[in-house]
């Protein structure tokens, strides 16, 4: 069975952990196992999920994107300022997505054409986006636009967008030549080049895709909070990377699956929900739990790798 291939094992392990976590929480809290809680889980974490999908593409190609958290802050302030200036909500969204994608493509071009380390280029991108957000407005801005209000109050929009982008991402990653090129470049760039794959184009597009996903995440975050704040999305890039790692994606590139990333995001969200259900546990336990979980999954991946190297 293709779905049970060895390389997909970490994703299954993540699924098992997610199911276990939800089961344990449902046994402990009466109202935990309900459609509403699950829908809220998706809604509360949609912006993280969207950003993490883009980051997963970048990691699969062997790179890294540190700019997604700052993008969320930038897009919120950008949209709010445009709408305060009288631009209609829909135009603001399209402009934000265009700017986000362009910034991503720009970072990708620097990585692809000048051989710059992705870590530093996207770090510069993070400084630039966070800085521009602060330059536009140091204060949090309210969003009164009726479109944003309507979309923000709907409980279906954010989860719907997340699932739609995920399915589109899976289609791109696993059923299109582009996706195969991403996996190939991440697996071994030299081989990909020798096989005649468009390595540079793939790299540029991957960062563009990540820029698009994280700016969409920023738009969803703006729906969610109905405000734009230059400081929102602080350290979100870490959560996105952590979600990908928990979902079984190797940071060396070439191995991983988008479904795993979604599960990683859901596990992070479940931990947060459980800690808020518990009431007596302080918020910092979330971070410690996420760290331990990361450690456990790294250990698991190590075991799989060890198993693989024994049977070449």
């Amino acid at each position: 069975m293709k779905a049970f291939r060895r390389s997909n094992l970490p994703v299954w392990a993540t699924l098992v952990v997610f199911v276990l976590a939800v089961t344990a929480a449902s046994l402990r809290y009466e109202h935990f196992f309900s459609f509403d809680v699950f829908l809220n889980l998706l809604r509360d974490n949609a912006f993280l999920g969207l950003a993490a999908i883009g980051v997963t593409f970048v990691i699969l190609s062997g790179g890294i994107d540190l700019s997604v958290g700052a993008m969320i802050g930038f897009v919120g302030v950008f949209c709010a300022t445009l709408m305060n200036a009288g631009v209609p909500g829909s135009a603001a969204i399209l402009l934000a997505l265009a700017v986000g994608t362009l910034v991503g493509l720009g970072m990708g071009s620097l990585v692809a054409f000048y051989d710059l380390p992705p870590f530093l280029v996207t770090l510069a991108g993070m400084f630039l986006l966070r800085g521009m957000a602060l330059v536009i407005s140091m204060e949090a801005l309210r969003i009164d636009d009726p479109l944003f209000q309507a979309l923000g109050h709907s409980k279906w929009v954010a989860p719907g967008l997340l699932i739609a982008v995920l399915l589109l991402g899976v289609y791109l990653a696993n059923f299109r030549p582009f996706g195969r090129a991403v996996y190939a470049v991440g697996g071994n760039e030299q081989s990909a080049l020798l096989m005649g794959l468009p390595v540079r184009r793939t790299k540029v597009l991957v960062y563009g895709l990540s820029g698009f996903c994280s700016s969409l995440g920023g738009v969803v975050f703006a729906f969610y909070t109905l405000s734009g704040n230059a400081n929102s999305g602080m350290t979100l890039e870490l959560d996105a990377i952590a979600a990908a790692v928990i979902g079984g994606t190797l940071l060396t590139g070439g191995v991983g699956h988008l479904f795993g990333t979604l599960l990683g995001v859901l596990i992070l969200g479940t931990i947060q929900t459980v800690i808020s259900f518990e009431g007596t546990l302080s918020s910092w336990w979330t971070r410690i739990a996420v760290g331990l979980l990361l450690l456990a999954f790294i250990g698991l991946q190590k075991l799989f790798q060890a198993g693989r190297s024994e049977t070449p």
């Binding site: 710059l116 870590f119 991108g125 790692v245 940071l251 060396t252 302080s282 979330t286 760290g291 990361l294």
Partner: protein, 327 residues
């Protein structure tokens, strides 16, 4: 064929350019006055405020030279600051004990990172991500989510006091530089670090104890970060588990790379790292003294990162040079 300049030379030129801009446009930037037996002036400020980044960046240089990276610097800063502030407010321990315990915690955390990377063979970025994510949680656990403030003159003097007219952090950073430089250049450790970063397998076959070398590099980084944490906590007379040293690891990595040590490992330059840290701080101080609105700091920093990266990129220099020779 033109011989490429060493990246550190580019970094040094960039720093000189920055100083030149200040010489021309910022009156009084170079003036240093003596008050109460202490030096005061913008240049002293630059040295003073660059010391936490420099202390973290020294260890980071070794880590990056082994082809690794340590993302947990900021978390170690938060933890060591929390430990020191807790000990000074809750107990009667003498200052040397407090400092030793904080630095010891940093050493332990550095060894933990090193253990994950060297013994368990986990990718450095993931291995140190664990501590980066959970470290701030641990610091908050220690401080119970509060910002712990203290008035203890002893701990406050770590950053506030002075020695030979220089602020203490500058002296500490200079000593740190001396120790790491001695370790790297007077013993075989530096050569071993470079060999591990260049080709780990070859180094292993040549008899280099690669695991111990990596463990050592992360331990140095942990200690440096803990000392940086003490300075940060002493500056503000408070331990803020959420914000102390936030993104300091990125500044440290930036200082290392701007100074000319490549993220691909191998050759490293401690002098370059010093120049890198000075560039970052001179840039910030310049922005502040020029009266540029503070929100532009990050934008300027982003541009500076890109310029330094591009100057060190071979393909970029090739296209620029070929265009120049064609013209």
């Amino acid at each position: 064929m033109r011989r490429a300049l060493h990246p550190t030379v580019w970094a040094f030129l960039a720093w000189l350019l920055l100083l030149g801009v200040n010489l021309a446009f910022t009156p009084g930037f170079f003036s240093i006055e003596v008050r109460d037996g202490r030096f005061y002036g913008s240049l002293i400020d630059v040295l003073n405020h660059s010391s936490p980044v420099l202390l973290a960046a020294l260890g980071m240089t070794l880590v990056i030279a082994t082809k690794g990276v340590d993302l947990s610097v900021g978390s170690v800063v938060a933890i060591s600051g929390a430990v020191a502030a807790l000990m000074v407010t809750k107990g009667q321990a003498p200052l040397p004990t407090i400092l030793a315990v904080s630095v010891g915690v940093g050493l332990a955390l550095g060894l933990w990172n090193g253990l994950l990377v060297s013994v368990f063979g986990i990718q450095p970025m993931v291995a140190t991500l664990v501590l980066m994510v959970s470290g701030r949680g641990i610091a908050q656990l220690l401080t119970d989510g509060q910002i712990i403030t203290f008035q203890d003159p002893g701990l406050a003097s770590v950053a506030g006091g002075s020695l030979l007219g220089l602020p203490n952090p500058v002296v500490v950073a200079a000593c740190g530089l001396g120790v790491v430089a001695a370790l790297a250049r007077w013993t075989a450790f530096g050569t071993m670090v470079e060999s591990v970063g260049d080709n780990e397998r070859a180094a292993h076959l040549a008899g280099v104890p690669t695991r111990w070398v990596k463990l050592g590099a992360y331990a140095v980084c942990g200690v440096g970060s803990a000392i940086a944490g003490l300075i940060v906590c002493s500056y503000t007379k408070a331990a803020d588990a959420n914000n102390a040293g936030l993104y300091l690891e990125l500044d440290a990595i930036l200082a290392v790379v701007a100074g000319g040590t490549a993220m691909t490992g191998g050759r490293f330059t401690l002098v370059g790292t010093v120049v890198g840290a000075l560039i970052l701080q001179t840039l910030t101080t310049t922005i502040l003294t020029k009266g540029v609105p503070v929100q532009w700091t990050l934008v300027v920093k982003a541009v500076a990162v890109l310029v330094v990266c591009l100057l060190q990129s071979d393909p970029f220099r090739r296209t620029v040079l070929s265009r120049r020779s064609a013209a």
